[in-house]
């Protein structure tokens, strides 16, 4: 019966694609896979449809079920601020060197070694915990250790918490999983009248095994369906009744930690 309800909800335009307020859309990793002790770069993309400004922070947290491996015991020095240029900010991450010993031991692990990072982005001034954490105030320590529980104290609109992990292995750069790429098919302008709709087709290139999944988001109107699997995902953008300018985002993920972002300006008249 529950499945019945779930399946009935899986068609047509989806409100879940609507970006209503500050929202982290994508966190891309470069490279998509790290060696133990290797540094990488995460690029976080944050949508701010209201244009009221965003503040954001990131902190490493590789949680194997008993808390973050990187927990320094105090807030000071744990989180770093994320400077956004337009929508994007960059954060450096370091895969724990301890994985080298674990991987070399040949021990069978019940999970893939990984490096984890949390991101919190908020409308400016909405989340005091960001200021506290960046100032090294231990009042933020509980939040940094268990941010999902800490979200109880933050508003639903205007605060966005995201976790991203990067796989850690001993594979060489040539052997590693690579990020996919995504392109839109066709180049006509995404400009509609109110209540209009238009199809969006993409092609995804990827060399990894497994299924590719593409999720879409928009700050204007809605999209449907919210997720499509495969190398040629197709969506429909429904303009709705609201005129204005906005953006559409498409995020593709492979099953090995690789991802890519496509975005475009849209107009409803």
């Amino acid at each position: 019966m529950v499945i019945l309800f779930a399946v009935l909800a899986c068609s047509g335009p989806s409100d879940t694609t609507r970006v209503r307020d500050v929202q982290i859309i994508h966190v891309g990793a470069q490279p998509a896979e790290l060696n133990p002790g290797e540094a990488g770069v995460l690029t976080v993309t944050v949508a701010d449809p209201s244009g009221q400004g965003v503040e954001a922070m990131a902190w490493p947290c590789t949680d194997l079920g008993e808390g973050c491996l990187e927990d320094p015991g105090a807030a000071a020095g744990w989180a770093q601020g994320v400077e956004l240029e337009a929508e994007d900010g960059v954060v450096e991450v370091l895969a724990s060197p301890t994985w080298e010993g674990v991987l070399a031991s040949g021990e069978e692990l019940p999970f893939e070694p990984f490096q984890g990072t949390w991101f919190l982005a908020c409308r400016t001034g909405l989340c005091p915990v960001i200021g506290q954490a960046l100032a090294g105030d231990d009042a933020a320590l509980d939040f940094l250790r268990d941010p999902t529980a800490g979200m109880v104290d933050l508003p639903l609109d205007g605060a966005s918490l995201v976790r991203r992990t990067v796989r850690v292995s001993q594979r060489t750069p040539d052997e590693r999983n690579q990020n996919p790429s995504i392109e839109r098919l066709g180049d006509e302008a995404l400009q509609l009248s109110t209540q209009g709709e238009v199809g969006l087709s993409f092609t995804v290139l990827d060399e990894s095994e497994g299924t590719l999944a593409t999720d879409v988001f928009t700050s204007l109107g809605t999209l449907g369906p919210a997720r499509v699997e495969g190398e040629e995902p197709e969506f429909t953008w429904y303009a709705g009744e609201e005129a204005g300018q906005g953006r559409i985002y498409a995020v593709v993920r492979d099953e090995e930690g690789g991802s890519a972002l496509w975005r475009a300006e849209v107009v409803v008249e």
Partner: protein, 690 residues
Amino acid sequence: MLPLLLTISLALAQVPGPPAEGEEEDAPPEEEEAPPEEEPLPPEETEEAYEFLVITGERLKPEVTERVIPMDQVRVLPGSGGDVVRAVQNLPGVARAPLGVGQILIRGTAPEDSAANLDGMPLPIVFHFAGLNTVINGDSLSEVAFLPGNYSVRYGRTLAGLIDLRTTPPSLPEKDRGYLSVDLFQATGYLEKRLSPRTSLSLSGRRSYIDSVLSPVLSKVTGNTFQAPRYYDVNARLLHRTDSGEIFDAFLVGSSDAFRVLGENAETGEEETTIGLQTRFIKLRLLHRRVDDRGVRHESAIILGPEEQKFQIAPDGTAFERPFDIGIRHELFKAPPGGSRDGLTGVGFRGGLDVQLSQYRFEYDVPAFGLSEQGDIGILAPAAYVEPTFRLRRWDLIPGLRADLYTTDQGYTGQALDPRMSVLFHPWTQSRLKIAAGRHSQFPEPREVTPSSQGDLGLTPEWSLQTGIGWEQGVGEHLTVEVSRYYTWLNDLVSGREDAFRFFSGPPPQGPLDTGAYANDGTGRVAGIETLVAWQDDLTFAMLAATLSHSVRQKRPDGEEVLFEYDQPLVINALASRELPKGWRLGARYRYGSGNPYYPLSNRWYDADSGDWQPVYSEEQDRTSAFWQLDVRVDKTWVRRKSEISTYLDLQNATNRQNQEVVGYSDDYYSEEPIMGLPLVPAFGVRVEW
């Protein structure tokens, strides 16, 4: 008339009238109606032979509360669709299952803490999908016993209540008979034939066809190829009674439920199962019963057969449980002398061995639930029990002791010793006082004690201390009143790994999950008062059942005590059915139930690895809005010389009330989206009987 009140039930005209006081154990009414060629039952069998009369007669049972519904009345109860176990859900002590799914929620406990039995032997499930029907045809049963707590040591390995589907007493049919019935959901056929004066055979089959209607509709709505729920079951029974009164009873039950959503594989373009759920089992129950020269009844039974639950979700999620169970029971029983009001003194007893063997294979490999688990476990669970009965004039003292052992070939061993005690006092003809206390143990699930599934070999059995006191009072010839007070302490409950895949019998759990390791850290308390008022005369049956309860849990010693997820402080069921002239019958049922506790959505976070939103729940519980519903049923029967045709219209939710059943959420957990119950459903059916 002797409206003594060991149990209260819903029987009407077709149940034979009760015997006079003092006759109960000497002259079973079945004798009167038995065909001439059938010998009377030996007097020693009376304890079970009177099962059919428990409504108004009396028998000795240790249970403080055992409510029995004979099959005759079940068929015409409004709102129950003619189903035996759905009828039980009207009784006090049963909470209302959300969405009407097939969960049995007994006295503030979880559905997995209660059991369904066939003559005391375990059954894997009791309902087909969505709780529409019991997996056994009601015509194969003589009664359904509802044991909400403080039951005999005959029953074990269960923390909370029981539903026992009873085919006994084994009675040969007086004549060949059968019927065909069709209704909104299914078609049923039943045939009972006397092969010889001492042997009978009954066969029944049922097939739902709601899928043939729903599948095309759902496929059009969703764009997926939909194979809506379908089920079927078959029952076959061969019964033989020897000249000396021995019984040989073979009963076969098979059941299958399936549901699938088909979609196109993104890679291959071929049609594949997007979501699939299947439950099926076959059980063969063999029973032998005889009474020796000393009046001791010997009963041996074995029930065995395979079961399977299977779940698939694209692209590569699969999970199954495939136990092959064998249950063996040998029991000796001797009733104490006389009736409980005869003023006699004496001793009776019940004792037996109850052995369960199982080869339990499982796999849970659904990526959304994290790590996969596999297991192939051999389980041996022997138990022994003894239960003497001391009859001291108007008192019956029934102490009992049950010893259970549970071992697996994965290195787990657990044991339990459950003492129980019931005291029954019959101060006056129409009154009974019942007091009971006892321990009830339940062993951990196989995965919880399997090291390869992150199980813990150190887990001990969960156990409950159940106490209860009840008063039954007959008022005049037709009215009976029962009030019971119970208090249950739940101890050593297994907590942890709530994020792991499991087969749910209802809506999946919501709210903060305990993802820690398995441990016997959980405790709980349940308290309640149950009231049952029943009126029964030749034309009318009416019942008011009310339950007040409070159920709380504490998952970990350092955690907070919170309301149990199915805690329903007030449940009321009121129903009435009256026979009218010219074959008409009119009935109605009103139900009220408090809403279930839940954790409101507080916020959310996004898992960029999976692309899925995750909920963040409030720390404070709220409660869904209360439920109420009115059902109205009209029956019309035409009696012919050799056949009977009956038809009915059962208006379920006759006022089209919109009840919130479950709190649902949008896929991105941005908003709550209440899931409402069914609108007005005009269920109808026709039955031709000969």
